[in-house]
């Protein structure tokens, strides 16, 4: 077994607020290998974005405070590295794409300048990125970075890439700006890409293109991807694996086909039942009653228990451990066997 690219072990994160400590992440376990696209899904506030941001240490501390747990990136614990080394990982080894393409590009600089900056920063840690001889002068490095920027834009499917480098962000459409951000995230040849809702702000047709591009990138460069989304359809079409999060816990994880076709955890089932599909008849959708628990005083035991149709007293005693449903497919539910029986009826 190869060592996973990223391995999150029992990660705990709390946030200080006026009302007290909020237990935001409560023991996250996740392994990402090269070539895998992991989908992180869940409702808003379940901690999926914070999991992604934690990997590149972008959560401000304070208010955040990491408790137990570790984030191993190629064997090194990111939480224990000095900030200078984390900085070297960002961009070069860990690329990020954020939700809103309009606010993540500087409107005052040309696209090319912004891409070249990232390429030069990555090259300062690893000169091979630019593919120019050792000891090359500044001007030469800049020229090489610009050539690379043009190639990257071309690769993400922007026509006349070399000319578009001189455009400003406002001259690009939303989908094109998201492509620029993907190019920017990939320019340092990262090993791990974290995409935080990359298509939520886009139309379905553009979304389909971006997801295809993302899939192509994984097979071309053999990188690992964490795709954070709340859209189960996106996960089903793009990801190889999926982790379903609820209130700071991963409740179910496994290969996408397994989890979607034979969901084991009651929360995953409830999520799936809430998505309208071709077959669902008018008025037949099942919403999930109740609300997401307060993370300052989370319910003891399983955090889903207050909304769970199958909850029994034992559920409220202790946090359920993850149980293997099938190979690689895990779910954290003590009622699992019964839940499955009920589903088969």
């Amino acid at each position: 077994m190869v060592q996973p690219l990223l391995s999150i072990r029992n990660l705990h994160l709390t946030m200080t607020s006026f009302d007290g400590e909020a237990y935001v992440l409560n023991g996250i376990d996740l392994d990402v290998r090269r070539g895998e696209i992991w989908g992180l899904v869940g409702e808003s506030g379940c901690g999926k974005s914070l999991t992604g941001l934690s990997v590149s240490r972008l959560v401000p501390e304070p208010p955040a405070r990491y408790g137990e747990g570790e984030i191993l990136f190629e064997g090194r614990d990111i939480l224990k590295l000095p900030m200078r080394e984390v900085q070297a990982l960002r961009g070069k080894h860990i690329g990020m794409i954020f939700q809103d393409p309009t606010t993540n590009l500087n409107p005052a600089y040309r696209i090319g300048v912004q891409l070249v900056d990232v390429a030069l920063a990555a090259a300062s840690h690893d000169a091979s990125v630019l593919d120019c001889p050792a000891g090359a002068g500044r001007r030469e490095r800049r020229r090489a970075a610009r050539r690379l920027a043009g190639e990257m834009l071309d690769r993400v499917g922007i026509p006349n890439a070399a000319e578009r480098l001189d455009n400003y962000p406002h001259e690009f459409s939303g989908g094109m700006r998201q492509r620029v951000l993907i190019a920017m995230a990939l320019i340092g040849r990262p090993d791990l890409l974290i995409a935080d809702e990359p298509t939520t702000a886009l139309d379905v047709s553009v979304q389909a293109q971006i997801l295809k591009l993302l899939k192509g990138t994984v097979s071309d460069h053999d990188i690992g991807v964490i795709l954070i989304t709340h859209n189960l359809g996106v996960v089903a079409e793009t990801c190889s694996h999926v982790a379903v999060m609820y209130a700071g816990n991963i409740v179910e994880s496994g290969p996408v086909a397994e989890v979607i076709e034979s969901a084991a955890h009651p929360y995953t089932k409830a999520l799936m039942a809430a998505v309208p599909t071709k077959e669902s008849k008018r008025g037949s959708l099942k919403g999930l009653g109740g609300t997401v628990p307060n993370l300052i005083a989370p319910p003891p035991g399983c955090r889903f228990a207050p909304r769970c149709p199958l909850a029994i007293d034992a559920c409220r005693q202790a946090l359920p451990p993850a149980i293997n449903v099938r190979q690689d497919h895990q779910a954290a539910c003590i009622r699992l066997t019964e839940a499955q029986v009920l589903a088969d009826v």
Binding site: E43, S44, G174, D203, V204, S205, V206, Q207, A208, L211, H230, N231, L232, G233, V234, A236, E237, V256, A257, I260, E261, A270, L271, M272, A273, A274, V275, P276, T277, K278, S280, R282, G283, L285, K286, G287, L288, T291
Partner: protein, 271 residues
């Protein structure tokens, strides 16, 4: 199906060029010769990508935009020929629910004030006393799944789904016949979206409302609407029964859009 409640005939809207510090902007043809009719009691879905003219069309129906050409008829009356007073009376019967429940409620108003405001505005049509208004507000809240105990609270005390319910209660306050729903669930999580969609179905069955539902989420439109129109760059490209459009789309654009819609099932090629 009975007679049309809303008819749009050859509607066009051109935004005139503007002079800005960067020079003159181009003329924008937001709507080109759009004709639609919405029947009483049905759910009509309007689907399009961003920039396709969905919002311009909605705003024109509310007469918040003056069309460049064409007519909008509400139960046979041309909106353009109504006096301001008549228009106000008509607006009691056409209400709207907006996309973002966080932005469309005034944080300084209590739920009671929010829900009774349309009754105060449409006082001359509804003629409700202060007491009746409060009673109706409580009644509306229970209709949308909240309760009278929520009347004195403020919007920040509610979750997104609850806020959208308050928006729906407000839209129902003046007793409308036609409800414009401008992406009412796109800011909500799927589990909450399902609750709001079920509420909309239930309200329609109980109150006999007509829905004009605007969305870019095709699966939601398919779930709720019996007729659908696809709009692309200001033009209606396809219109018909929703089953027919989703199962056998005729235009290339419709096929592309339906093909791009992510499905929650694993396709053979993905495994």
């Amino acid at each position: 199906m009975s007679e049309p409640i809303l008819t749009i005939e050859n509607l066009s809207k051109i935004y005139a060029p503007k002079r800005t510090i960067f020079g003159r902007t181009a003329e924008v043809h937001a709507l080109k010769d759009v004709s639609l009719s919405v029947m009483k009691g049905e759910s009509f879905g309007l689907v399009g990508e961003s920039g396709s003219g969905k919002t311009t069309l909605t705003r024109s129906v509310l007469h918040l935009e003056t069309p460049t050409a064409g007519r909008i008829l509400f139960e046979g009356q041309d909106l353009a020929h109504l006096s301001p007073a008549e228009l106000r009376r008509l607006r009691a019967r056409v209400q709207i629910v907006f996309q973002d429940p966080y932005a469309s409620l005034n944080p300084r108003m209590s739920v009671r004030d929010i829900v009774t405001e349309p009754m105060v505005v449409h006082q001359d049509t509804l003629r409700l006393s202060r007491k009746q208004q409060d009673d109706r507000a409580a009644e509306l809240l229970s209709l949308v799944g909240l309760g009278p105990q929520h009347l004195a609270r403020y919007p920040h005390e509610f979750s997104g789904g609850q806020r959208q319910r308050i928006c729906i209660a407000r839209a129902l306050a003046s007793g409308p016949d036609l409800l414009l729903l401008d992406e009412p669930t796109s800011a909500l999580d799927v589990s909450v979206q399902a609750q709001v969609l079920n509420l909309l179905c239930d309200l329609q069955d109980r109150l006999g409302l007509t829905y004009f539902f605007i969305s870019h989420d095709l699966s939601v439109v398919r779930y709720l609407c019996n007729r659908v129109a696809l709009i692309y760059r200001g033009e209606i490209v396809e219109e018909g029964e929703s089953d027919q459009i989703f199962d056998a789309p005729e235009s290339g654009y419709a096929r592309m859009l339906i093909g791009a819609m992510p499905q929650v099932k694993v396709r053979c090629d993905a495994v």
